[in-house]
């Protein structure tokens, strides 16, 4: 048996408000936003959904550059990601638009399993203008119905929350990631669900993550995913120096991947891990799950959103503006310079920890309060600043 490796924690701090007002979807899942999502199956259908988004208020288009001639595992992940975005509880209804009917139905049918309203349209045999009209008419009705849904009180533990940090510096490991770690421990204690990932960015701290799995088989699965990435890097005949840590990390004082990784894993606190997920897999139950993801912010957050996460916690050191189209991304910084220079991007300023006038527990209470507010509808800065980064993870070249 592995003995879990833990970090120093403070005790004390009270669990705050638990009730949030949110949307209960047809399949019982809970969402905190209420989008009518226009999903193109392929790059060439972007023009249609972007046109409808301009015509019909209350719709959100999800343009992307892929969907043609992908095959095998890469194609499977592509479908899983689009279906996952449409199925996310932050989405009230979806319209799927593709060049032809078969793949369009594949995505639409996948989303329909949630029993939420889904419509499918395709361009071949119709032309762009007729398709725009059909999608627009469908969207009118879907927006009317979505905006007629009422929020209801639910326990915050019903939310799925994801974690990923970015433009990290030493203030992340020292404070903001630790506050997220404390939040995670508390949220798991009351039965919440949390996803984390960043496979390569665990290099130097993978033994600590490995020591936290509740089940031996999950620990082995995690090490397999971890080693696969290390091999991939090696097979390219390069090292990741220059990419990991990034120039931003180095400017912020992080010197090595090991140091970055040790800071990174503070986000899960001392929690034990309930399972391992591959890219965009939905968690099978409540608890803490590791997901195999890239460490690139938009790619990882997109995979979490596709797995059903409804709020993302994003601690940042040097300041990364990232958002997601459907999952609000809450920015937390402990770097006083970033809190000032990039003020409009920061939702929770905990730089008081470095100044010595705020402790980890009080900072965790601030974050908890902001998560409750975000769940109840308060926009995060990334939403206000129009950040909608939707980045599909591509496993290899298309045919």
């Amino acid at each position: 048996m592995f003995t879990p490796i833990t970090f120093e924690v403070s005790d004390g701090g009270e669990i705050m408000e638990r009730q949030v007002w949110a949307y209960r979807r047809e399949n019982g899942s809970v969402g905190v936003r209420n989008y009518v999502l226009l999903i193109p199956v392929d790059d060439i259908s972007n023009a249609i959904v972007e046109s409808v988004e301009k015509n019909i208020a209350g719709t959100l288009a999800l343009p992307h550059p892929y969907g043609r001639l992908q095959f095998g595992k890469d194609l499977e992940l592509f479908f899983k990601t689009l279906i996952g975005m449409g199925s996310n509880p932050n989405v009230a209804a979806a319209v799927v638009v593709g060049i032809e009917s078969k793949w369009t139905y594949k995505v639409a049918d996948g989303i329909a399993k949630t029993r939420k309203p889904v419509e499918a349209f395709w361009v071949e045999g119709n032309g762009q203008l007729k398709t725009i009209e059909k999608v627009s008419r469908a969207a009118v009705k879907l927006v009317e119905d979505a905006t007629n849904l009422r929020k209801e009180p639910v326990d915050i533990s019903e939310l799925v929350i994801s974690l990923k940090c970015g433009e990290s510096d030493t203030t992340s490991g020292l404070a903001s990631n630790r506050v997220v770690g404390r939040f995670t421990e508390k949220f798991l204690d009351i039965g919440g669900t949390v996803l984390f990932g960043e496979t390569t960015e665990l290099t130097g701290a993978e033994h600590i993550v490995a020591s936290r799995f509740k089940k031996e088989e999950d620990r082995e699965k995690f090490m397999e995913m971890f080693n696969e990435y290390q091999e991939l890097v090696k097979s390219q005949g390069v090292d990741l120096l220059g990419s990991q840590p990034t120039e931003g990390n180095i400017a912020g004082g992080l010197s090595t991947i090991e140091e970055k990784a040790l800071g990174n894993i503070q986000k899960i606190g001392n929690a034990m891990i309930d399972g391992v997920l591959d890219f965009a897999d939905r968690p099978p139950g409540k608890g803490l799950y590791f997901m195999n993801t890239s460490s690139a912010a938009a790619e990882a957050v997109t995979l979490f959103a596709a797995a059903g996460a409804v709020i993302h916690l994003f601690p940042t050191g040097q300041g990364n503006p990232i958002g997601n189209p459907i999952e609000p991304v809450v920015k937390i910084t402990a770097n006083p310079k970033t809190a000032e220079a990039m003020e409009e991007h920061i939702d929770v300023d905990i730089s008081g920890i470095l100044k010595g006038n705020l402790d980890i527990d009080s900072a965790t209470d601030l974050l908890w309060k902001r998560v409750v507010e975000t769940a109840c509808g308060r926009f995060v800065r990334a939403e206000i600043l129009n950040h909608k980064e939707f980045v599909l993870t591509k496993l290899y070249r298309s045919a």
Binding site: G253, S255, E258, E259
Partner: protein
Amino acid sequence: MLGFLVHKDGDVVGVATTDLSKGSKVQGKTLKGDREYELTVMENIPLGHKIALRDIKKGEKIVEYGEIIGVATQDIPKGTHVHTHNIRSIRWG
């Protein structure tokens, strides 16, 4: 004044919580608060960057978080800046 924080007792580096100026005398403590430090800053060190808590020999492992974060590529005197110019990754060196 508090100039740096140390993740864990036994670490050889601290993290500057404010810009540290050469020649100034600064205090530091562990996150748990179970150990306090006082040292003279030997060169300017920006907020978030690391300071050597003791003399570190070339080839010595650098410990932070109670874990190894790299190795010293040259002798690093106490109170000086610890970063990519004098330590490197062991994993992706």
